[in-house]
Symmetry: C2
Subunit: 336 residues, 2 copies
Amino acid sequence: MISKKRFSSIRDVANLAGVSTATVSRAINAPDTVSEATRKKVLKAIKESNYAPNSMATALFSGMSKTVALFVLDISNPFYISLMRHLNQILLSHGHNLIICETENSFEKEAQYYEYCKSIRTCCIIYTAGMTRKNFALDTHGNIPLILIDHEPFEDVQSLSINPDNDKAIHLLVDYLVNLNHKKIGFVSGPIDFLSSKARYESFCRYMGQHGLPVENDYVVSRSFAESAGAAAVDYFYSLPSPPTAIIAASDQLARGFIMRAHSMGINIPQDCSICGIDGIDSYFYPKITSIRQDIALIAQTVFDFIQDPAQTSLPLTKTLDVSFVLGQTCRKLPE
Amino acid sequence: MISKKRFSSIRDVANLAGVSTATVSRAINAPDTVSEATRKKVLKAIKESNYAPNSMATALFSGMSKTVALFVLDISNPFYISLMRHLNQILLSHGHNLIICETENSFEKEAQYYEYCKSIRTCCIIYTAGMTRKNFALDTHGNIPLILIDHEPFEDVQSLSINPDNDKAIHLLVDYLVNLNHKKIGFVSGPIDFLSSKARYESFCRYMGQHGLPVENDYVVSRSFAESAGAAAVDYFYSLPSPPTAIIAASDQLARGFIMRAHSMGINIPQDCSICGIDGIDSYFYPKITSIRQDIALIAQTVFDFIQDPAQTSLPLTKTLDVSFVLGQTCRKLPE
DNA sequence: CTGTTAGCGCGTTCAC
DNA sequence: GTGAACGCGCTAACAG
């Protein structure tokens, strides 16, 4: 059994410095309110006693821990990996902490994680696209501030919604492919009951229409966001009598799966088929995917601003973030 | 400002049930010591008051939180993604929690995370291959139990070391490639100052020697574990007058980078070059990499057993875990 | 500017 | 089988 008292406490420091615990606390949290001399004494004592502040005690007192929970469907999705990085970076530098709740589309896991979040008095929950149900077990007890990224708003729950400009994303891609003389354009969607999938699909229909191009049911597939779903799309499209010449995938992860499966079938990208994705993650992948970049650093910053001042939560807020086109190597121009 | 009191406490439950807080506590933690009748009353009150236990208070009292910290170099490495999954699964089901500390080879981040771990009284730190320095800022104050995965033991710090059977891994791969008639075998190592890299390299030399094959300096590269390092190896090997016909990469991530870069250069895997990796992650990647599988579920289980009973920490323990061969599609047989 | 004190929510010990 | 009281480490209010 490890001894209960493993670290020196604020009291040890106080004794060593010959001051009261309150003074130590002030020297740490509000240095201005303490005289130069005592502050130095205290800091010295902190060093000497190897003091490590106990954030449990702080959290207990304040009723809230400095922990942010990120719910994701799949931590291997490069978009979330990047989001995790950016969030961690900004949170850590402000003494906050991120826990990852990978739900894998399981209601049970989601509920377990949520119980955990409550028990540690999470200061904020970030909920991303792809959860099992529209209305998660998220109750309003405790009023944990909620941030939705790429997710349909929960009714009755205050939240901040952050979404990429899905419409612009699709607009850019459709125009790009049409300019490359593609007419038979397929669409690999995420699950259609997810907000961003739906939005992207609707925009796809609209902009195809603007170019006078039909959206054939045969050219639209909707499964999951996993790489395997992108791979399955290859099998499907190439079972058609007339496969599309270009594909818009609803995420880079889907595009990756598509490309790898295509290669394995001897289908050349972009010679035989053009494909582009959405996310614009700057990771190592060959060929570099033509895509739409989301500014993930900005998402992280937006999240953090909200955490700092959740007073904004009084009304459901929605922020739409700009996106930009990223040229890759996965599309080619068709002869007219 | 969010009200301080956001959740109902054990006292609220006690009042509602008409018992004392101690009884509620017992009803939760030691149901056997409470009469059937009162226990039911208490459980009912818990439900009705939407009680969420405050793990801060528990942790404060016990001097330790149920949080495990995992230090990794790079969360996009599929090996760590898998490890994160398995750890999270087993920990969550036991009321523990995992935080990810991605150090990105930065001393500052590492130190920041370590401070954080101390402040939340982490019950255990898992340290994986690839940290910046041999001797990290990890001090012994607080005696946080330490688990090293694929990492050289720290001097003066008690720890449990978990390593795959690197020797067997390399043995299997060298024998496999030699049986496919390869003689010019290249080796893409991780940074050579990491324990597992060094071990794998030394085994490589030994087993090549057993087959009477020379290990030429030209055929060994050592950079990082990133995909980009695998990619760079392609450029390097194919700048040689006589490139190797087969490659052993020290990780699947390196192999991935190698394969993608090779494709981009028109080098066909496995027709033009055979390659195999180590890790055996079962993720979607084409072509499926011939590799060595580590039993990550077993690693997670070993970690958890240790957390349950860190008394084993009295002496530095070392556990070597078995590995197995996984046939993929990235190697071909040469004519004799 | 600094010390004293109370209490955040919980688990435990010692009474009953 | 159950309740009262204490303390874990910290901070905010109030006194000095």
